[in-house]
Symmetry: C2
Subunit: 422 residues, 2 copies
């Protein structure tokens, strides 16, 4: 069975807003064994929406509409589905009553417009919406053609707001769809690697995952990171899990410690987890990243147990004030130098009393460095990690704009911490 998703709403045909519901719906449908073959985005015009509905019914087994179920004259999904299916709408007394209750509970008179939200396609099941006034609808029907064989179609109407659509789909549509489709057991895994080119990952892993045609492998590149997604569907969960685990194990053996996460955790999660396991604390002195590394670590709930904080030493003076870097070091080697990075990491560690101190200093651009740094290239970054016994300093060259240099620098810092405490 293939599906088409129709997102209704003129705002998604502007440069400002995008349909995002379809990503969620696609994920859930794939888990049920349904592929999404088409997505259509159409505005609030009855002619365009009805046309799109007719086309979808001609080429997909399951047609899912999102949006256009509100009370305004722009909300036309019910009417368009009715016209395309050639099925009348009936006003549901039960729905009218529940709409009236909704307004009564808020002490607002129900505007007459809202009654149209009680219109239901003939034969459709109403899907209650706990989070809004727009009920969903589910219809399993047969379309008869004079000149072609009749076809079965499942038509689903969902409210547009993601906070309404997601629970409604998961709680009410999935159980019905699951009984209409052959049973399927899914196993999934995700491996994550930082700072490694996609082509390297693909060259080394393709010979392995190609031996597992029954496991769907997807390589995704994000900034500073590669993800490998594995999915297997089998008649039993044990069988599916065994295949995914076997493949994942072989890929882990090939990529070794390039893999920072074997169950989808983020790099920040893994760094904090490893600090916790080893009873270590961390502090940071950030120059070119200006707080980004600290921000990424503290975004994780519970990080305060292992990350004490640190300093954003954006000016040269603060490198001395907060991390005790000797002014001569900065004057001689420049703020962007291995020597300054080392002094920053050692200094922040001493000042905060943490087990480990990390520092980042670099030229994020677009303006070049000054003084001793004047001739250093944009993208040059030094990262240092100090412990009680030693300090490791790394020199990195990062290409791209200011945002990219800063993010990759924070990624390199996290990866340096992770590898050093492995």
């Amino acid at each position: 069975m293939i599906a088409e998703i129709i997102a209704a709403g003129s705002e998604m045909l502007t440069p400002y807003r995008q349909d995002t519901n379809s990503l969620f719906l696609t994920g859930v449908l794939n888990d049920l064994g349904v592929q999404v073959a088409f997505k259509t985005i159409v505005g609030d015009s009855i002619e365009h929406l009805t046309g799109a509905a007719r086309i979808a019914l001609s080429r997909a087994d399951i047609v899912i509409f999102s949006g256009g179920l509100g009370p305004t004259e722009d909300d036309l999904t019910r009417e368009a589905a009715s016209a395309a299916l050639n099925l009348p709408l009936h006003r549901s007394d039960a729905l009218l009553e529940s709409l009236a209750k909704r307004f009564a509970a808020r002490n607002i008179p129900m505007p007459p417009n809202n009654s149209k939200q009680a219109d239901v396609l003939q034969g459709a099941t109403v899907l209650d919406n706990k989070y809004g006034s727009a009920a969903g609808q589910y219809l399993d029907t047969t379309i008869f053609h004079s000149d072609q064989p009749s076809v079965r179609r499942i038509v689903i109407l969902l409210p547009g707001p993601p906070k309404e659509l997601k629970p409604l789909f998961t709680e009410q549509v999935v159980p019905i769809l699951a009984t209409s489709l052959p049973p399927r057991f899914l196993a999934k895994r995700m491996l994550r690697m930082a700072l490694i080119p996609e082509s390297t990952v693909d060259n080394r892993t393709a010979p392995i995952y190609k031996q597992y045609p029954d496991v769907e492998t997807t390589i995704l590149a994000h900034t500073g990171e590669i993800q490998l997604h594995f999915l297997s569907a089998k008649p039993s969960l044990a069988e599916a899990q065994a295949r995914v685990d076997e493949l994942t194990g072989k890929i882990e053996a090939e990529m070794e410690d390039a893999i920072y996460s074997s169950h989808g955790e983020s790099l920040e999660d893994i760094v904090l987890l490893n600090l916790g396991i080893r009873h270590l604390t961390l502090s940071a002195a950030e120059s070119c990243t200006g707080g980004l590394l600290s921000e990424r670590l503290t975004a994780i709930a519970g990080s305060s147990r292992y990350f004490l904080g640190g300093a954003v030493v954006y000016s040269d003076a603060l490198k001395t004030t907060f991390a005790g870097v000797p002014p001569e070091t900065i004057a001689t080697y420049g703020p962007v130098s291995a020597e300054t990075a080392r002094a920053l990491a050692e200094g922040i560690r001493t000042r905060t009393g943490s087990s480990l101190g990390i520092s980042i200093t670099g030229i994020a651009g677009p303006t070049p460095g000054t003084g001793a740094d004047a001739h250093k290239p944009i993208g040059l970054v030094y990262i240092a990690l100090a412990s009680a016994t030693s300090t490791e300093v790394k020199e990195i060259n990062i290409t791209g704009d200011r945002e990219r240099v800063r993010f990759w620098a924070s990624q390199h810092a996290l990866e340096l911490i992770r590898r050093s405490i492995l």
Copy 2:
């Protein structure tokens, strides 16, 4: 004239990847006076893609394809457009030669597959791609029907990668399209407001902007911010600009200093700009935001002139080490208190020697505070701004999850700085 955008590529029918080219294309088309009426996303199947192309040609004047122009067997846009238009493809010697040169320059033999990238729709203009091997195509044609009037169609084939599509469209398609469409002069403005509900903005501004039906007004809500976009198209630029400026002026008079930006600048930009105008420097002591405020400010190039840096005082001890907060203040009132916020702001200002010191301390959740903070609610945040003469402290309650509390706290801090130096 209305347009349809067809994004070709099976990866956009997974839960992981979304078509983003259409947002860019829609913005540029709108500026030319063309509305996008449909967007279709379709996988790498010749049958599905040809069907989608036929449908688009039946309902839109301009049909733009993105993607599917590569050399692999999954790249089928040229073939599908040819089938749907019923027009043959001709292999272009000039394109073949430029492909061969491309590979020769890299000392790689050209794989035989790549020759199909030289296939051009009969009558189409080739659009050179400076950033990749896939050339674009532009066709202005008439489709004859036996039973209906013939129609004019503009068909545009563009490479999928945004870094190739965007310059190609701007540099080569826009000049041709502009000569095919009635001349139009556009004026645009954007007003931005922080920390104000969308409904408040709409209630106060709708009576004004509704008097300007010839200016298109769009209200967009982002986290912690509302944007008002104005667009007017007139036969002369002066006329368009006058209408937009008149409306913007009235809205500015109504919303007064809630508007932080009247030409689209970000809140960070405006804060740094105002610091610069007044020759002020800033430092920050961040607890619950963990570096987010510093990160946002330092993301702006040139921020180092006005933002010196500061401290991420995540642990109680660092509040004393880096900002000199008396341990008794923390023990008595708790780290999340007006007293601690005041001491942090004053302390970071003194330690760094900046003109202004900002501090943020709060309970971001999901775990509640401890010690003296144990009974304080998640989302409680104190922000303080210290100058040489006085310190202002604000208590705020923010609803939502950890990410939202942290972002809104940084937004409140920026807005406090902006208003205090206005």
